[in-house]
């Protein structure tokens, strides 16, 4: 299926959980946060939150800022 990941189209066999997506992307979940369709997802819900066709996902981290 196709989702929108960090502003870009992204192909992934799905539906999948957020945990699975992070694993697929090899991202350490402890240093990021995830937004699913404009709603922040608590870490505890990564295993249970299903991502479906056309969903909008943002994965963010801390970077240098002022």
């Amino acid at each position: 299926m196709t989702i929108r990941l960090n502003g870009e189209p992204f192909e992934i066999a799905g539906p999948v959980t957020i945990s699975a997506l992070l694993a697929e992307l090899k991202i350490d979940s402890r240093i990021v946060a995830v937004e699913h369709n404009v709603v922040v997802v608590k870490r505890l819900q990564y295993d249970t939150t299903m991502i479906g066709e056309g969903d909008v996902i943002e994965i963010v981290r801390f970077v240098g800022g002022g």
Binding site: N6, V41, V60, R61
Partner: protein
């Protein structure tokens, strides 16, 4: 802990200098500058993970989390909604409910949109955030933010990164006089004396990034800022002398030797 800590929302900080993490020549220089600054709170931005290049070293690894409290910001947000979303994401990353709230209203000046800022402050406070809003030097909006539950108000001294110094000291002093929450001057500092001037106005702290990160020697400037903030704070508490247009002698007028002109016989020693 110092005898004169900066206390925000019940949390005490040793340093009244808050610094950023952006624009440094390298993460290593940043880490050294952080040490030199003595700051125990630093700001960070929330941005997308780079999916194509995840090799990039992580900022967090260069922040001494034992000593330094991390304050996520909402830099780059132009609406209340995006600032709120970014604040929530920052909370998930950092597992802290503090946020330096920015809602930008203009690209050239990066001045705040105070109407949206007020709205975002109300929402985030209601969600349990400790909100430190970046605003301009307007006593009225500062009071509204305080009434909306802001834990501190952070008026700007000049445009972000401008290095112009405190453009309107009178407004900053008035804001401090009226505020019942800490006042932190955020943005505009260019060099050490600017930080001292801000503290001499009586504010509780100073937040800066560019003045240190882009200085010729960021580590030396970080130390300069540490000393300047302490100097300004001490001077404010010590109580400065009044200004007068004419002079007032430092040495006693009595007991001077008789001028030669008047001396007996006027014998000359020259």
């Amino acid at each position: 802990m110092t005898s004169d800590p900066l206390v925000i929302a019940g949390r005490a900080f040793n340093s009244r200098l808050v610094v950023g993490t952006g624009k440094y020549p390298s993460h290593a220089v940043m880490a050294e500058a952080h040490r030199a600054s003595g700051a125990d709170m630093v700001t960070v931005a929330v941005r997308r993970v780079n999916l194509t290049d995840k090799s990039k070293e992580s900022l967090i690894d260069f922040i001494d989390r034992e000593r330094i409290f991390i304050l996520p910001n909402t830099a780059g947000c132009y609406t209340a909604e995006d600032a709120i979303r970014t604040a929530r994401l920052g909370r998930e990353v950092g597992l802290s409910n503090w946020v330096k709230l920015e809602v930008i209203g203009d690209e050239q000046t990066l001045f705040p949109d105070n109407v949206a800022l007020l709205e975002a402050t109300r929402v985030l406070v209601s969600e349990g955030f400790i909100v430190l809003p970046y605003t301009n030097d307007d006593p009225v909006i500062c009071r509204k933010l305080e009434e909306a539950g802001a834990a501190a108000v952070m008026p700007l001294g000049a445009p972000i990164g401008s290095g112009l110094g405190i453009q309107n000291p009178n407004n900053i002093r008035i804001i401090k006089d009226q505020a019942r929450v800490p006042v932190i001057v955020d943005a505009g500092v260019g060099t050490a004396s600017d930080a001292a001037i801000a503290m001499e106005l009586g504010v509780d702290g100073v937040l800066m990034n560019t003045a240190i990160a882009l200085a010729g020697d960021p580590v030396a400037m970080a130390r300069a800022m540490k000393l300047a903030v302490e100097a300004g704070r001490l001077a404010y508490r010590a109580g400065r002398i009044p200004m007068r247009p004419y002079a007032s002698a430092s040495s006693p007028l009595d007991g001077r030797i008789t001028p030669v002109a008047a001396a007996a016989g006027g014998r000359s020693g020259v």
